[in-house]
């Protein structure tokens, strides 16, 4: 019984079906429960959270990643799967904490810096990080440095992700890092940056800990730091 539902979770992660209303990729899933419903059911049945996480969600995501690598899957497939897993993680969080774990793999704050409205890339990164099991506080766009620092402090985030798509807003990344330093928070939080005009050199120059060229790089950075 427990094996069956875990298998279904994996299959639905592969289909990227967050819930039963989702059409998925292949025929034949219409109206059947999606990842969130299946996870709820599994937990009700008393299947250990660790098992749901490791053999269901994480295993599913690994398979999705392999399919992307091999060219069978595209970004929309990855995103849908990551969104499904992210939504399931929200359901699992209280169980994981109850079991003495820390819940998510770690806390990350994401923001597009001040005067910048671009968020397609940042949203992609956020979804992928959530799908990888991180708790992400996404502050949205046009967020002033002071507000970012305030939230990092309040949330005790281990990683901060900043996005900028304009050369004129890149300096706000530097400003944010300076404010972290001024408040003596820089030792508690790592900073990763990204967005088309940024690069490794710029990250080094402003004292960021890492630069990520895409959402996959962001997950690797998070895995390394958290």
């Amino acid at each position: 019984m427990s094996e069956k539902i875990i298998e279904q979770i994996v299959a639905n992660v592969l289909q990227g079906r967050r819930d039963q209303s989702d059409e998925g990729i292949d025929e034949g899933y219409d109206g059947t429960p999606g990842v969130t419903e299946l996870v709820e059911e599994a937990l009700e049945q008393g299947i250990p959270v660790e098992k749901v996480l490791a053999e269901g969600l994480s295993h599913g995501m690994t398979l999705v990643g392999e399919k992307y690598e091999s060219g069978e899957y595209f970004i929309p497939d990855m995103l849908a799967a990551a969104e499904a897993v992210g939504a399931a993680m929200d359901i699992m969080e209280p169980y994981l904490v109850k079991d003495g774990g820390q819940g998510s793999k770690g806390k990350i704050v994401m923001a597009t810096v001040e005067k910048d409205q671009h968020d397609i890339g940042k949203n992609l990164v956020t979804i992928m990080l959530k799908g990888a099991g991180y708790a992400v506080v996404d502050l949205g766009v046009n967020v002033p440095a002071s507000r970012i620092v305030e939230v990092v402090e309040k949330e005790k985030a281990g990683l901060l992700g900043l996005s900028a798509l304009l050369d004129t807003t890149m300096p706000f990344m530097k400003q944010t890092i300076e404010e972290l330093e001024n408040k003596n928070l820089k030792d508690n939080v790592r900073v990763m940056i990204g967005g088309a005009p940024t690069n490794e050199d710029f990250a080094r120059e402003i004292g960021a800990d890492a630069h990520g060229k895409d959402a996959f790089a962001a997950v690797k950075i998070a895995d390394q730091f958290l």
Partner: protein, 512 residues
Amino acid sequence: MSREGVNVAKPYQRMTREQVELVHRTSLELLEKPGVLVYSQEAVALLSDAGARVTQTREGEYDAWWVSIPSSLVQKALESVPSKVVLGARNPENQIVMDARGYHVYFGSGSETNFWLDVKPETFVSQENPENQRVFPAITRRRGTVADLCKSAHLSDNLEHLDFFIRNVNIQDPDINEGNKDVNKFFASLNNITKHVMGGLTDFGQMDHVVHMAEIIAGGREELLKNPVISFITSVIKSPLQVVDETAEKLIKVARLGLPVVISSSPQGGSTAPIDEAGMVAQVNAEVLTGIVINQLAQPGAPVIYGAVPVRARMDDLHDMYGVPEFCYYNTSCAQMARFYEVPCYSTAGVGDAKVPGIQAAAEKMFTHAVVPRSAPDIVHYAFGLLEKTNPFCPEQAVLDNHHIGMVKFLYREPRVDESEMERVKEIIEEVMQTPHRLYSRYTRRLLRSGGIFPTYPFEGEGDDQDETLLKAHEKVQEIMDRPRQHLSEAICREIYAQVPGLLPRLNPYQV
């Protein structure tokens, strides 16, 4: 006298009349429900005073308002909107008359790329056979500067098929900052080109200075309104269906100044808009209508341009994609919507994913260059020198695009099939049949001189085993760069420098 562009007298109609009306109705329904999410208090005030239903909400760090726009408001805006917009120019012969009821299509450059590609011929030696030495173009990529922008404006002044200029280089010099960027980018453009200059603003605070500069060039406020040497692009919409705060303020201000403004909305099918043509066109149309409504509420009758820039998302990284068939569907259908409303249309063609000039670039660019103008939008931007989804600009590519656009302009010439033409050719055929060699070549000579025969590809190489296109384009760029620049007069420059703060002294050609 104004620029000619190309007359596409029988525009391609991708959608039937019923489909156009269906898109229109759907857009109106979308504007009512879900409505638009507006972040600008000023825009919300305008809309709610005019009768839109408004509900306050909170989005991320900011206040926002759900605004349900009734169709009557859209209808009213469409009634006051002018169907003719003049884009002025330093040289009045370079003016463009955008007429939504007409069929002239004009091509321009754009948009702000971060990188400039330098092409340099270098000699390479074959490892297999050191005797075999070849010259190939080596390409290097570096960040753009204000000097590059001056060069690009000068180049654009000399490209005969480029009808208007949108700056294509983002100026990233160490002494350029948010506070002086706009004045310098507009001055660098206006001081090196005699054609129309269209552009966006980085900083709202600079708008007055930029407008004042344009007034000095045009010869006063009244003259500027008659001959608007500049116009603005506002990305007031953030897809899906959101109105950005600062940009809305810019839009309202430009409307009140009476200067032409493009309402630019650039959703990506598959990420910020449905990938289906129906959904994309209905959404982007609703978005542009929102901008037009705000513009007309701010100033009824203000000159405004329907700027749909719908693109498709790339499925392997979700970046924007321009050189694909869906892009052509979206853009030709949007041009049809603009024509339906009789609002001048700003459309897009000529970008792709190719990172450098070459076979991929040619295929992607030529594809959209040839297709999009067929629907007779008034202006087509992004058309010169852009590569890799608008990230780099390459002057050699611009020279190639110029020729390719010349081909497109030629392609859409009207057929000359009428009684008098037939009389003429009948005579010719009879004559030729009486000659010993039965050759028609002598009858090409007049046409050849009058531009009636399309020239041989000017970038063809001499060798028979190497493509030399880019090397030839490089020679052309060099030749154009050596031509004298068409700067503003010394008196005008003096006045601008005295009255407009923040200009870099090195941009003044008369600086001693």
